[in-house]
């Protein structure tokens, strides 16, 4: 599968500058500075098992090693985060943004460039398949993939998006994420792949073709899902037999006894990144926290508690293979997937609109029947 980040580097595009740019701007010192410090740092927590994993793997050990107090803050909608930065009182010092959102924050000058001086060079180099950016440090990688009712398709399960679209061969209703979520839902990429587009040839997305494909699957759609828990739940409730879902949600459901099948094939790797919000009073502590959480051992500890893949590929050296198998960036899984092109999604076209907005506007037209 195509390595999107590599393409970005080759094209020298604007968004994060990639690692090469970061290196030239901020040459990493041979020996990383000590992370010891004072004061506090306000960090996005995420809640639930995600927040718990962060607390165990990052917050508590960080406090112990550095003496800097971590103040965990619950989730806020990105719109509110944006508003808080604009108001000059950012809600967090360090927060996590969906990979597709970070560029808009960057564009609107709401982020601080990361001081990689605190990072170990080995950690920075090991970030794969998503590289560290000037303003962004990848936090977790997850997959939006094909999930299905394993009890229904015991032999011959759907393996491609075309299979998901094919309700003759694979009977039952479907659910995909609502197109209003644009890049987050992967629904447009899925539609194009279902229509036969190679993952390497997806971008730039062909909107007409995508909506034509969506029109074909629409009659079998039970509903467009909006939150991550919905798709697995609809499979468990036997309301749908196949659809798109996030790997973390599916694995969590299966750990509790659900029988949800999935394939990494044609899965989309998506990621969230750490960012330091402009206006923070604890910028140094924030960079130290990011350097700490970038370490392979810490990320390995993190994935023991939740099935989000570690951006630092060296973390796999510390993860048992049973566990690694479930992670979307494990070598086997990685081969079958591609990284979603957030750059494309944030590209602003001639009419002043980013592709994210274009997708939503077209989706609204399509769902209203006026497209």
């Amino acid at each position: 599968m195509v390595d999107v980040v590599r393409r970005k580097l080759l094209q020298g595009t604007a968004w994060a500058g990639g690692l090469a740019a970061a290196r030239s701007l901020l040459p990493a010192p041979a020996i990383a500075q000590t992370l010891k410090g004072t004061g506090e740092v306000v960090v996005y927590d995420g809640g639930g098992s995600w927040g718990e994993a962060k607390r165990i793997a990052y917050f508590e050990p960080f406090e112990k090693e550095t003496g800097i107090k971590v103040i965990a803050q619950p989730r806020t909608d990105t719109g509110a985060v944006r508003a808080s930065v604009l108001a000059g009182a950012p809600r967090y010092d360090v927060t996590i943004l969906p990979g597709g959102k970070a560029p808009t924050f960057e564009r609107d000058n709401l982020l601080l460039p990361i001081d990689y001086g605190y990072f170990e060079k080995a950690d920075i180099d090991a970030f794969s398949p998503v590289k560290a950016g000037k303003f962004t440090v990848p936090a977790i990688i997850y997959s939006l993939f094909i999930a299905y009712d394993a009890s229904k398709f015991a032999s011959g399960a759907p393996n491609t998006w075309a299979d998901v679209w094919d309700t003759q061969k694979f009977a039952g209703r479907r659910s995909l994420m609502a197109g209003t979520w644009a890049s987050d839902g992967g629904t447009f990429e899925a539609a194009l792949m279902a229509d036969g587009v190679e993952p390497s040839k997806l971008y730039p997305l062909d909107w007409d073709r995508a909506f034509k494909s969506l029109s074909r699957v629409k009659p079998s759609i039970l509903k467009w899902w909006n939150t991550g828990a919905e798709a697995p739940q609809m499979i468990i409730d036997k309301l749908i037999t196949a659809g798109s879902a996030w790997n973390g949600r599916v694995s969590a459901a299966n750990e509790q006894g659900a029988k949800i099948g999935y394939t990494w094939n044609q899965g989309m790797l998506q990621y969230d990144t750490w960012v330091v919000l402009k206006g923070t009073k604890n910028a140094d502590n924030a960079f130290k926290f990011l350097a700490f959480s970038a370490r392979a051992e810490n990320q390995a500890k993190f994935v023991q508690h939740i099935l989000y893949a570690p951006p630092n590929s060296r973390a796999f050296e510390h993860v048992p293979s049973e566990r690694a198998k479930l992670l979307p960036t494990s070598p086997e899984a990685r081969k079958l997937q591609f990284v979603q092109d957030y750059e494309f999604w944030n590209t602003v076209s001639s009419n002043g609109k980013a592709n994210n907005e274009i997708a939503v506007a077209q989706w609204e037209r399509w769902i209203s029947g006026v497209r």
Binding site: D77, T78, G79, R82, K101, T104, T180, W181, A182, D184, K218, I221, L222, K223, W224, N226, D237, K238, L239, N356, E357, V360, A361, E364, R365, I367, S368, G369, V370, R371
Partner: protein, 307 residues
């Protein structure tokens, strides 16, 4: 105008002073943000512009979504009215204690969060949920009905949420409608149904109007229930606004759409404002002071008339 002078007189100073905190709270917490919203909608990239409006105005999708929202709100309102009127009528005929109890039951759904109620409906209405199971067991259907993720689910969910808003104004009015009116009409030659249609129903019209207005207006802004219970075609204006704020960060357009929604709300409200003000007052008394209210509108027995 001999009362003009009076209205500004000293005896009116106290009520004005007492009202001051709420007026300040209202302006700071409500009027100012809404004004900002409207101002925001008139800007684009920091400069004055009607671009947001021209954008949504020229979008056939937006017009369609508005129409859809209006028709959903209207349908929910009508269904609510059809269910709430007999309910409120029956409660108004009950003695005070059972009536208070029934009103409490009507209010109960309001005490749980919309989200929880909505999920409960998903469970109840799903193909292997209790309702379908019962119908299957009774042999009334041969395979599960598609009740959830369909317009049926949206209507059921929204009607349940909105029902109290309809029942309370209706009850407040019906409890005040003199029961002798229907008797008088019958003694004058109207059969019971005719008496109801010619006299009781028109006499309860204020409650019908305010109940419908309240339900209609609050339905316009709904999106959690339609989003969770609705089918693939369900898409309303509030969903569009929320995604512009939460996902796209396109505040200008969100502000413009919100302003359009607000304008519709204000429009409806202005048309019926007097009725609503009257009935809200009654409903408030009913909800909070009844049945122990010393208020003359609501004597202890919960009825205005005593013969």
């Amino acid at each position: 105008m001999p009362n003009r002078r009076d209205a500004l007189g000293r005896e009116h100073l106290l009520p004005v002073l007492l009202l001051l905190p709420i007026v300040i709270l209202f302006s700071v917490g409500y009027v100012v943000p809404l004004a900002q919203l409207v101002l925001k909608s008139l800007q684009h990239d920091g400069a004055w512009s009607l671009k947001s409006y021209s954008e949504i105005g020229s979008s056939p999708a937006f017009v369609w979504i508005v129409l859809r929202t209006l028709s959903l709100a209207a349908t929910v309102t009508i269904v609510c009215l059809l269910i709430a009127y007999p309910l409120a009528y029956a409660i108004s005929k009950c003695p005070p204690r059972p009536a208070a109890f029934l009103l409490l039951i009507v209010t109960l759904p309001y005490l749980t969060s919309v989200l929880i109620r909505t999920y409960a409906w998903i469970v109840l209405l799903s193909p292997n949920g209790p309702i379908n199971q019962l119908l299957l067991y009774l042999g009334l259907i041969s395979e599960p009905l598609q009740l959830v993720f369909d317009s049926v689910g949206v209507y059921v969910g929204m009607v349940q949420v909105q029902l109290p808003l309809m029942v309370f104004p209706l009850y407040a009015v019906l409890a005040r409608v003199n029961p002798s009116l229907a008797k008088a009409a019958q003694s004058l030659g109207s059969p019971p149904t005719d008496a109801f249609l010619r006299v009781t129903l028109p006499a309860s019209m204020p409650g019908v109007i305010s109940g419908c207005t309240l339900v209609f207006l609050s339905s316009l802004g709904f999106y959690i229930t339609p989003e969770l219970l609705g089918g693939p075609d369900s898409y309303l204006i509030a969903q569009g606004i929320s995604l512009r704020v939460l996902i796209l960060g396109n505040f200008d357009e969100a502000a413009a759409q919100s302003s359009v929604l607000m304008l519709m709300v204000i429009g409806v409200f202005l048309i019926f404002r007097q009725r609503i003000a009257e009935e809200l007052d009654i409903a408030r008394i009913t909800m909070f002071l009844w049945p122990a209210s010393p208020h003359p509108v609501f004597p202890r027995n919960g009825r205005y008339w005593s013969d």
